[in-house]
Symmetry: C2
Amino acid sequence: MKPVTLKEIAEQLNISVTTVSKALKDYPDISKKTKALVKELALTLNYRPNAFAVNLRTKESKTVGLIIPEIVHHFFSSVIKGIIAQAEKKGYLVIILQSNESYEMEKKQIQLLLSQRVDGILISLANGTADYNHLTDVIAQDKPLVMFDKIAKIVKCSKVIIDDRKAAYAATQHLIDTGCKRIAHFRGALLPQNSIDRFLGYKKALLDNNMLYDPSLVYICECGDNSFEEGKMNARQLLKDHNDVDGIFINTDLVAIGAITEFNEQGVKIPEDISIVGFSNWFMSSVISPTLTTIDQPGYQMGKAAFKQLYKEMQQLKNKEPIVYESIVLKTELVKRQSTKEILLGEV
Amino acid sequence: MKPVTLKEIAEQLNISVTTVSKALKDYPDISKKTKALVKELALTLNYRPNAFAVNLRTKESKTVGLIIPEIVHHFFSSVIKGIIAQAEKKGYLVIILQSNESYEMEKKQIQLLLSQRVDGILISLANGTADYNHLTDVIAQDKPLVMFDKIAKIVKCSKVIIDDRKAAYAATQHLIDTGCKRIAHFRGALLPQNSIDRFLGYKKALLDNNMLYDPSLVYICECGDNSFEEGKMNARQLLKDHNDVDGIFINTDLVAIGAITEFNEQGVKIPEDISIVGFSNWFMSSVISPTLTTIDQPGYQMGKAAFKQLYKEMQQLKNKEPIVYESIVLKTELVKRQSTKEILLGEV
DNA sequence: GTGGTTTTCGAAAACGTTTTCGTTTACGAG
DNA sequence: CTCGTAAACGAAAACGTTTTCGAAAACCAC
């Protein structure tokens, strides 16, 4: 059972392929009668245009590529969902690739997407990515590229992000407002922009409040997988190193949950002994005990916004307009829960 | 900067397109010298074959479609990861569509994938899907189709599943072995095969142990979203209806976690007052307090196995061999944690 | 009946490959 | 020098569309 082609329809109706094609696309120079005939037969034969042929002609694939560091991840899977939902609305399909936080992978995958002739590419960078030639290649080919969440500031293209620095500042400020005097920070890996910005927000909040910034309170983990285990390890280390810390701002909810678990096991009371603020607002954070105060990071919204921007650029390209890059900053919000104390009114 | 074509390479070298194509594919009737020349130029020009043109000629897209009810879901995102990983190994790309548990969506998406001429389709059914014509259509077109997890037993195609019934039996048996005398079941929606099978396993375990099967202890939720809220609601209802229940086997971890939260809030002690077994082994289950005893459902493995089977069928199709359907059943495992008591030796 | 316009249709080229089947050239054997 | 063969290359068709341009047919006004 081979798929039906225009040619077969044409032969059955004794007209030309051209006429069939035009009839299906409602060209004005085809009579109503012929159109009706063609459309009816196309329907009964269940005709579907061959996407390859269409793409070859029109040079449009109606397909975009998405490269993401990790799929099994609440935030990223929310982003994926947002992207797919928005793409579907506009009639686009999404090819998803996972870089596994590897720069080499990322490079290969970009090449793969380019040779697939996708109309545009959405990407959230791997932690290890420090060289951006593969990205500028895309832009040089006039292919729309939108980065989201884990971006490279240097690369000239549209970006959809949150203000990590501001959010981290708010998180740290909240620890201060609730009475914490000595605040540590688990920052995860060294490299990614998010880590840097969140760290800077943390630091600035301390300084703005005339508190000491102590580098030994910043825990780096070069394993770089933002894992549960990382949280446990860091928490253990913190208890050994510093017995005076009464608050921690943690880079990622998952790490925060690891820390909470470790503290629970060691009998450290949260938030009485140590207050904790996480980052991302995974679902899990509302379920763990104590529930985790955190920064809500709108993944679904980010996915939608990223595709919308990509779509806009694809349209601009089609209309031979110049592509204008935009940086879209999405709102975050502090979600107060049990892992931090009540705000002390009047004291601060 | 338009992509390089065979023609351009040919013109630069003053040879024919044919020769270029053959040289790149190492045809034996091209001299070594020419091959070297062509390959070198192709490399420096960064030539990438136009996928559309290749597909149009060869009728192979090296692309498969994946339809899944929900992306933001630990189990499903694990499956996606497994599928993508395996597909990449074999040089295939994956287009992901989300049905949102809607039958209508599912139908449309199948059509979309067919008109995109994907080489095969992987699908996990929406809860609402009860009519399978869209699936038999795919098979009738000789397009390989593999169903996983949420399947329709009636449809003749390959399937990758776990033995829900056996796993549910094991879960229930574990409650019995740890001393539970009156065991309830939260089964979620009525329709999907998984729910049915898990229910049957629960029931059989009761009967095999000479325990009463009481339909009023089976909680159905037609909201069908397997949600946290569903778990809370059911738990609340259970406390009202039956004060003698001392164990619950719950269809899904997320619902179980909802129930645990509700019980925690109401001061019901787990496992002393009520023991709970969930299903899926989400990461969250190892983190909630008390940690949740559950059935481990190997999502990543399932994804890999599903793509492998699809790949096998695509090869069979290519080689004009008959396609042989297989039903692959993956192993599950009971993960014992704090939400159930220790096994009473010698008592049962 | 003529000229012009409108309506309706089709031929053909193009998109970039792959592959079949010739054709040309070179070469060695007789 | 001729013939046969092998090596190296190319012309052309095909995949299924879309779109440009021209042609035929039909209609209208005079």
